[in-house]
Amino acid sequence: MDTFELKVAQQDGRLAVLEVAGYINNEAGEAIAAEARRLLENGHRSLLLDLAATRIINSIGISLLLEVLEQVLEVRGTLAFCSLSPSIAKTFQIMGLAQYTQIHPDRALALTSLAATP
């Protein structure tokens, strides 16, 4: 599936879950960054990006995810990802993203971990 869709699936106190579907390129990355900015401005401090329906992220999309990470770190929040395809997991591993973010196999485990994150 390559058509991009972004949905805020859950907003609960500090936490917000964004469901991302389709190809993450420049336009999609900008949409994610704008939504993340809005959520942080509204007081959310833990953002979970569920990428279950995303098969490919290009390098421009990646650079925009780094903008999201920078915003989250500025407010001392937590950025987490879950349900990565193997190639996206490898991309994140190449970048070293696990150093600054949480990466979980699925949403349930991510939510459990984020609930325990101060």
Binding site: N58, E70, S87, I94, M95, Y100
Partner: protein
């Protein structure tokens, strides 16, 4: 008996054109019996090469794909001003995170996802040749 699957395409200068090359990698690789996870990585590397070619090249961007029994090869050719790959800095997350410009991951991803990446570039012609062996990466 070994079989070689070949495909050549010229990308249109249209939104998401790079995905056409990615879809071609998947199609050709599946026909040649490569694992889907391997092809997803080759696809990403080819998409990155095409993005660079579409962004910096002029005129047509050509993509040649060949699936052998033991490897997939891709060539992405553009007709832009060219560049010196030795001068492309390797990105680091620590640096990029606090930098104004967070881009610059494309070549690094290609190199790490593929077994071989060669760049031949001069004014008017850049060819990126990439190879991924079966079981490599």
């Amino acid at each position: 008996m070994s079989r070689t699957h070949r495909l050549r395409l010229v990308l249109p200068r249209a939104p998401h054109a790079e995905l056409l090359a990615g879809a071609a990698v998947e199609e050709l690789g599946l026909q040649a019996g490569f694992p889907r996870d391997t092809l997803e990585e080759v696809k990403l590397a080819v998409v990155e090469a095409c993005l660079n070619a579409l962004e910096y090249g002029n005129g047509d961007v050509e993509v040649e794909l060949v699936a052998h029994d033991d490897r997939v090869e891709a060539r992405v050719i553009d007709h832009g001003p060219g560049f010196d790959p030795r001068r492309v800095e390797r990105p680091s997350l620590d640096t990029k995170l606090h930098a104004q410009r967070k881009r610059g991951w494309g070549l690094e991803l290609m190199r790490r996802l593929m077994d071989l990446v060669e760049v031949e570039s001069r004014p008017g012609s850049t060819t990126v040749r990439m190879v991924r062996r079966r079981g490599g990466g």
